[in-house]
Amino acid sequence: MTLSASSLEKIDREVAKYPPDQKQSAVMSALIVAQDEKGWLSNETMDFVAGYLGMPPVQVYEVATFYTMYNLKPTGKYKLTLCTCLPCGLQGSLAAGDYLREKLGIDFNETTPDGRFTLKEGECMGACAMAPVVLVNNKKMHDSMTNEKLDELLRSLK
């Protein structure tokens, strides 16, 4: 098990941000890079990151299980995370959650049978004024999501 040369290059750039004796500081970024390449973090992937940064594997597991944006299981091709906190809820995100669950036929934390979508409930994403907010694969944020815009988003994610 290894990561691609371009992923390793990215991790090296992250390691360079911290003092030479503090490579562990790069573990969050290294796990992000690894997840971007593999889609999720298997034990083998985390063990590789541990070895690469010279950390005990258990410390990498601790980090991966603490921060909620890491995928500890395979997800659908597109992970949709909807913020359902109070401010977003007041602006229609809970209704958007109902709409998505009905439309996809799954509940939160489930994946569609065709493996295309995983639906997650997220906590505050810092975009409250533009609710409802949907984050796709941890990277692309879509805001002010009406039912029409949700339909359009689902259609565009092949």
Partner: protein, 443 residues
Amino acid sequence: MLDYGPDAILMKGIDGRNWRLKDYETRDGYKALKKIIQEKIKPEDLINDLKKSALRGRGGAGFPTGLKWSFMPRQFPGAKYVVCNSDEGEPGTCKDRDLLRYNPHSVIEGMIIAGYAMQASAGYNYIHGEIWETYELYQEALAEAYAAGYVGKNILGSDFSYEMYTHPGYGAYICGEETALLESLEGKKGMPRFKPPFPASYGLYGKPTTINNTETFAAVPWILRNGADAFLALGKPNNGGTKIFSVTGHVNRPGNYEVKLGTPFAKLLEMAGGVFKGNKLKAVIPGGSSMPVLPADTMMKTDMDYDSIAKAGSMLGSGAVIVMDERTCMVRALERLSYFYFEESCGQCTPCREGTGWLYRIVNRIENGQGRMEDLALLDNVSDNIAGRTICALGDAAALPVKSFIKHFRDEFVHHIQHKRCLHENMEPLWGRTQKEKLREAA
């Protein structure tokens, strides 16, 4: 064109596209830094200016910034750090994201000046992982600042060297707590540390460290360009300057508005387009979800500054104003808040780890028609057993909303328990159904 209001100074002239270095320079950007370097202004003079300006921390606690900077042992040999807390995840708060994506160089310049004033060796900006596009944009802005010689070795030809880096959060609210953030920067779980020692003596990697909010750093260049007195004059004594408020919930134009501290709440509400569809105002959380809720009539008489909101019985916090109109079911609203703290408790302290779960489950059963009258006393009791008994303030943040919701809207909770439904029919068309209701419907 974005409009942050006529009083804006940090967001003045921002249109959403003019975030680059050349744009920032046309807005007098990096002038303060150049002056400091060229005139070799003494660090203590900068710190005194900040003290005089009455700039207070914009992240939540409202601690005076100049005083905080003065705690750093500037003469301490070796590494010292400046950290920017951009892990913006307090429900209702979305201002730092706008600063980082629309005016990133104001944050960068503020962090460089902080580095100079505290004789730090490096600055890290810890940015909320959910706003990845903003994270990348900020990195691009930082690269511009390096290329222009504002950051790095021998800044503008002086003997002051200072490196700057970014670090991503990845979905942990607790990392907005400064010592949890430091743990996270060190590559660990974000669990808060005991204080003392405070970060100024034992911070990142055990070195002296000062952590400020994004908006706090962004205000520094303006203060040093225009003078501490000018900044103070914008606000009120002890409450200097402007503040970006994120107005969310039941308003016609949710968004960020930058107003002078001391502006009446009624005026801020008007800027946000008034209450949704002209409905009647019911309640407002004036400072982010961790602060006590206030009823409409109290809010309408309150000014938006640290001291006035404290006097009214809440806190200005991060400046997140969550507006709720008459249709809002306060039980459901509290259920959402309690779920958040249950989900985000780091699990280090037993009262918070266990207590937040208790709070959520009790509010949830009241919301779902399974509440008992003794639950109200139980909620009070559990809240009291969390608040003040944990390492960090997350425990208090979970307990305060519960107590204030029950205090001000007790009749709604009682009605929910007695009648298994909301006080009024069809209280909230935008609200969505709870999980349990949905399951019941399906059965």
